[in-house]
Structure formats: C-alpha cells, structure tokens
Subunit: 341 residues, 2 copies
Amino acid sequence: MDGKSRVIFQNTMPSRRQLPTSCLLIYDRILLRSFRPWIRSFTFSYGVKAGEELKQLSHFPEHVTKLLKINEQMQTRDLTIIALGGGSVGDFAGFVASVFKRGVPLIQIPSTWLAAMDSAHGGKTALNAGGFKNQIGSFYPAHLTFICKSLLLSQPVERGTDAVGELHKTVLLKGGALWRKCKDSREFSARQIYQLLPDLIRYKHSIVQRDPYETKGLRLILNLGHTLGHVFEAALARSHGQAVDLGLVFALEFSKSRGHLSEKSYARIMATQFGRSLPPLPTVGECLRQVRDLERYITQDKKLSDGNIRFIFLNNVGKPIIEKTAVQEIVEFARALERKA
Amino acid sequence: MDGKSRVIFQNTMPSRRQLPTSCLLIYDRILLRSFRPWIRSFTFSYGVKAGEELKQLSHFPEHVTKLLKINEQMQTRDLTIIALGGGSVGDFAGFVASVFKRGVPLIQIPSTWLAAMDSAHGGKTALNAGGFKNQIGSFYPAHLTFICKSLLLSQPVERGTDAVGELHKTVLLKGGALWRKCKDSREFSARQIYQLLPDLIRYKHSIVQRDPYETKGLRLILNLGHTLGHVFEAALARSHGQAVDLGLVFALEFSKSRGHLSEKSYARIMATQFGRSLPPLPTVGECLRQVRDLERYITQDKKLSDGNIRFIFLNNVGKPIIEKTAVQEIVEFARALERKA
C-alpha cells in the first residue's frame, strides 16, 4: 500500500542478505520438516501451530508475553517480524507486527498458494474473537513479500485445491486477458498457479491501492463469492477454497436472478471448462440446506447497516457491481435455490 | 493527524447532536458520580475501572468479548467508540477502537488534566504486557476530541498536580510566549491550566503532525524528562506528573553537565518561580538512590539500538536537542548526581 509494499518472486528462500539484521521469525512449525536449516539460521524465532486456534484472541496475551521475552534478548526495538506460513500465520504475525511496540516492519513469506495469491497481500491482519472470525485486526501491509517457488511447490497438492476458489474469483473479477488464459482450464496444476500469481497479485494490489482501508467501497468487490463463502466456511467447516467456489456459484445465480447477469452471459461462462469446474447447483443447494440460521451468519460477518449488506454481483466477466441488498432478500433467494437445486 | 484530528473546546459535555448516531461509550465508572445522566443517555456503554490494570493485555480478550456482545446488540459495524476518562481509559479505548473490526472511529473526551493536555492527543494507544508499560499499541488518532471545562473542573485537585509535569515539559520545550506566560508561576490553578490548554495542545499537535508515527525522530523531543520519568514511575510508583518533574530536573542537570545548557541559562531558568517549583536536587538524588537496576529500566523503556538511546537535552528554554547517548553514560551521570545531591 502507499507504494510501500514490494513483492519479490524468486526460486529460493530469501538469503540473509535480503533480510534486515534484527529479525524475529514467526513460523509454522510444520515447515521444520522441509526448511529446518533455513529456519534454524535465525537466532530469534517463534514456532506456532497454524490454524484458526492460533488466531484466537484468548491466546494472544500468552503469545505476546513469549514474543516480548524473545525481544528482550534481542536488545533492540528496531526489529522486523517475518511471517513464514499460510493464511493463519500471516494474519496472526501481521497483527502482532502491527501492535508490537506500536508497530514494527513486517515481511511476509507465504507458504500456501492461498496466502501467496491472496491473504499475504492487501494488509489485512486479524484475530478471531467471540466465536466469529477476524473481529479484531488491523490494516497493516507487509513492507516486503517474498513469493518463493521452492516453498510453494513443497506444499501438499490439496493446498492448490484450497486456493482455487480465490483464483476463480479473481478470474471472474478481472476478466480480460486473465479470463482468456483461464477459461479453458478445468484444473490448475501447481506450476500453472505459480505462473498465474503475478497477474493475481497485481490485480489485488490494484484494487487495494485505491481503497487501502476499505472505506471507499471499492475494495468490497474482492468479496465476490464471500458472503455465502464465509457462511459455508463457518457453518459447514468447508475449506476457504471450496467455500468460495460455492459462494461464487451462488453469486452467479443471484446475479442472473436479479437481472444483472444476462442469461446469455451466464450460459457463456458456464459453457467454458472454467464454468464446468465450479460446483454444480445441486451441491450448492444441498450446502444451503445444511446451514441453520443463515441470516445470523451473514449479519455477523458483513458490514451491516439497517439489515442491508453490499452484495457483489457480476454484470459479466470482468464487470463486478456492488449493490445494497437486504439480508432478507439473500436469505429468500437461498431458500429458492434450495428448492430449485 | 493528517489534519483529521479536531479539538473542540466547550463548557459542557457534548450534546447527542454533536455525536454520531451509533456510539459505544467506554467510560471510567467513577464518573457515574457526577455525570450519571449524561452517561446513561447512551444505549450502548461499557464502564471500566481506570488504572494500569485496565491496560493489562491479559484482560484484553475478556473486555473484547464483552464489547463484541454489546456490538452485536447494536446491529451495525459502523459504530464510533467514545472514550470518556483519563489516560488509562483513553489508551485502552483508543487501542480497542484501532483494532475493533480493523478500526472504528474514535472520539476522546478526556476527564483528567493530564489526558486533556497530553495523552488524548497524538494518537498513541497502548496496553501493558510482560511487566512493562505500553508494549502493545497503535498510532490511532482520535477523529474528534472534546475538551469540556465542566468535566475537567469537576476533577479532584490532585489531578491538577499530576498534570504539572507535562505542563512544565511543554513550557520548557516550546519556550517563547508560553515560557513568558508561565515563568513567574510557582503553582497553576485548575482555571490557569484550562487557560493554557489550547497552547499546550497546539504545541503537541504541531510536533505530532510532523512525525505522526515517531519514525523521523522529531516526535522524540516530547520525551523530554521522560527517560528518567518513566523509571521513577515504574520503579518508585510515582505519579506521571511527579515522575516527569523529577526527570526534567535530571535532564536539565545532564544538559548542563554535557555542555548543552550553559551555566548562565541554567541559572536563569532556576531563578524563576517556574524553576523553583521543580523538585530540588537532593530529592532527585534520593529517588535515584532508590532505583535498583536503572540500566534495565531504561533499556526496556526506550528504543534501543546498540546500548544507545536518543536522549532529549535542552540547549536553552525552547531549544531541545536529540543526542544519541549510551545508556551507560546516563547511568554514570545518575550515580554522580546521587553522590552530589
């Protein structure tokens, strides 16, 4: 943000010469399996178990106490926090960096495809509280992000699947050349995803730069597929990728039903390999049926004023629109889709 | 900051028309004694016990859980947090505002002189952790600050004494007309302090605006008297005002000893009523004798790189200078002062 966030693509992990002198590495412990020597090269480091539990606000004081003890040994307050891990580690370490001594520089080294294409960019950090996700957080862009091919390719294959939801979302939002690159793909290999990363990251940066603090509404378009996506994630414990894919289908159907997306454009999207790779309607209907208290989930998750949320529709590929929509209407459409599907 | 922080001086508490529709008031419970009807006019409010305990990071998750419950009843995320209280309430509520749903607008209504002239301005929010003050926090300026005469004058007289340390500091830093206004005063009545508030606040804003995130070093000059002040506060449990006054005498003596402040200028300051109201040297010496582990206190408190801190000296009234100084030299001068005093 503010032109400060740099992204470096490279094959290997950053060398010590690419990093500041005083670093505190916060890393996903599971990466010790493949990157032990690199992690152990840091004098000051803090291993964590990745996952939503790491982001629990209730554990935060304990983490901070330990990090302050490490920092005391460092004999300096001019430290940089390096976050090595997936989304939960990035969210957690990013939040730590944003409030530690009122903010210290942050370097992100995402280890999952999802973090590499999405969560490591845009400066959102977050903790979970009160039973809901991301209730506490900050806008704190990384000063530097390393996209390391060897790290990303070392991840289990499922990680790629996890990321496909966000990839699909960005392709639908951006359209143009990115759509043409992707529309004939039913699946994306790890190497294909890696090839697409610069496009995906550039698109996210372009949106975030115009609305870094999500105050102008512009940034909201990145929520395409997420209103229902977050519900499926929270209520049905789906992976973020699966949940967003389900949410994208909902958004496409809803866009068509509200007359934003023409039948013709809808059919054209669905006829591509890309469209065929999205979850089928009956699956979406089945998932909707399983959610109890849909209204409450949507209400808690989104910026709500007077029972309305700003829902992201598609006019066409590459043409998102934001429209104030009553939560009640979304719930009614969901009920209709359940019956239809 | 960024020209966004407005300060409104008025006799009475803000009317509801001066405040946004969706407010969550975080208030010092002790103010229910004098301002119950005003506080009770808020549908959503959260009373706290002021003091350092409130700022303990370990209690933070519990506070947040309760605040999220209140927010759920509000049915909106577009809330504004109002902080009504002294420094600890402002630090706490300011931090809450900065991280609640990644940041909501903040209005400060300082109830103590110290908060009204200092801590409510400049955007520093903070919690205590690991046994040290202000280890966790953010730069998050209030969007609006109300300085209410009736509120400030309702405070016990000691509160005025608490604030005098910061008042003395600003007078020495700013010099000029403010020095001429204050140099013949040995004491400041509540009404006199109120008269001085616009000058004191304007000075702080002028410095903070040039260095909002304390990255350029400029803002450091506001630490005059605070290197030792924070030590006396932490180690000897002195009030912030008393501690800063002791720290100012240390800074003046240290400035003279290092040749920054001439004997003549020093004598001229000390000959005024203002100078005579500062703690006498033997008292400072006695306090220094009582501090064990001075080096560790200074090290933890300040931005340290390689055993040096940036100490604020005075060249003269209105002429602060920042100089990199070894913690060891400060400790040695403290030992010398102990012997001399």
